[in-house]
Symmetry: C2
Amino acid sequence: MNYCSSCGARVALKIPPDDNRQRHVCDSCGMVHYQNPKIVAGCIPVWEDKVLLCKRAIEPRYGYWTLPAGFMELGETSHHAALRETLEEANARVRIINLFAVFNLPQVNQVYLMFNSDLLDLDFSAGDESLEVALFTQDDIPWEELAFTTIRYSLKFFFADRAHNNFRLHTGDIVRNSAGREFLEGAATKY
Amino acid sequence: MNYCSSCGARVALKIPPDDNRQRHVCDSCGMVHYQNPKIVAGCIPVWEDKVLLCKRAIEPRYGYWTLPAGFMELGETSHHAALRETLEEANARVRIINLFAVFNLPQVNQVYLMFNSDLLDLDFSAGDESLEVALFTQDDIPWEELAFTTIRYSLKFFFADRAHNNFRLHTGDIVRNSAGREFLEGAATKY
């Protein structure tokens, strides 16, 4: 950030009065430009023993498989965002059941909210952001071709819970460290 | 938003290629300036049969009582944000137990993530953003002097769950309509 989006003057990185961290501040009009994490909302669309995945037609991770998910927009609720992303990416209609996973990704400033859902019909197809959309049984999931760690853990937890017919909320952090990308359950991340 | 924060040129409100909604777009450098909802993270600090509340020393709702909560910052997890806000507003240390409530506020572009927590000691005091910090039993909660609807529902659900010793995740939308502010459980909001 170089310029004030309100008045167009140069901004400076400084700690504003009554604050304790650096912000982009406009010395001309006084505006403080806060930056905050974004929410990614998505769902696990289920049809019988299968899950709907989308093959990405956009970067990042072009050609890799993902669950329908994307940035929550202004004016939406998180479950509405999940419904919209599913419609946009897979031309698919789902019924949101409940919240299934909350993943913090502090290194990329995102929080994922993933919902359990039922696919309402088989009238789906690739949206503009997908090359292909298809249903997969657990055995057919392309585990090595998944787009994101969040998607891998969403599917892993989903199939584990389904095996015990005991769905619970999964919360934790997905962090990148020397061992790769790791899931730390609950409030496990140390500061 | 009037100016591009990257190059300082004027921005225009238009639908970018491959998008379906209006964004602030810079015709000079091409940057699309997305705006997204923010996360407010907080907790319900519990000590025996009491809950810690803070009397706000800042606007909005100066002088009204609230739970420790605030905007999640870059580089944080949601539970770290809740810990930090509790430390800043009440000089209090808590142990986060689990996620208790997810409230969508689509009209103000916020998602609240509220956690159950245990207050670790009684060494708390008013932080810079608080006039006063105190423990309240259920009977003593100043229900008519609470700062926000999110706080009222957090406390209402907390005491209801505690009465049955059955804490569960509460998800839903808080919307303003002709009847005032209302909580709609789960994925209830219609579009």
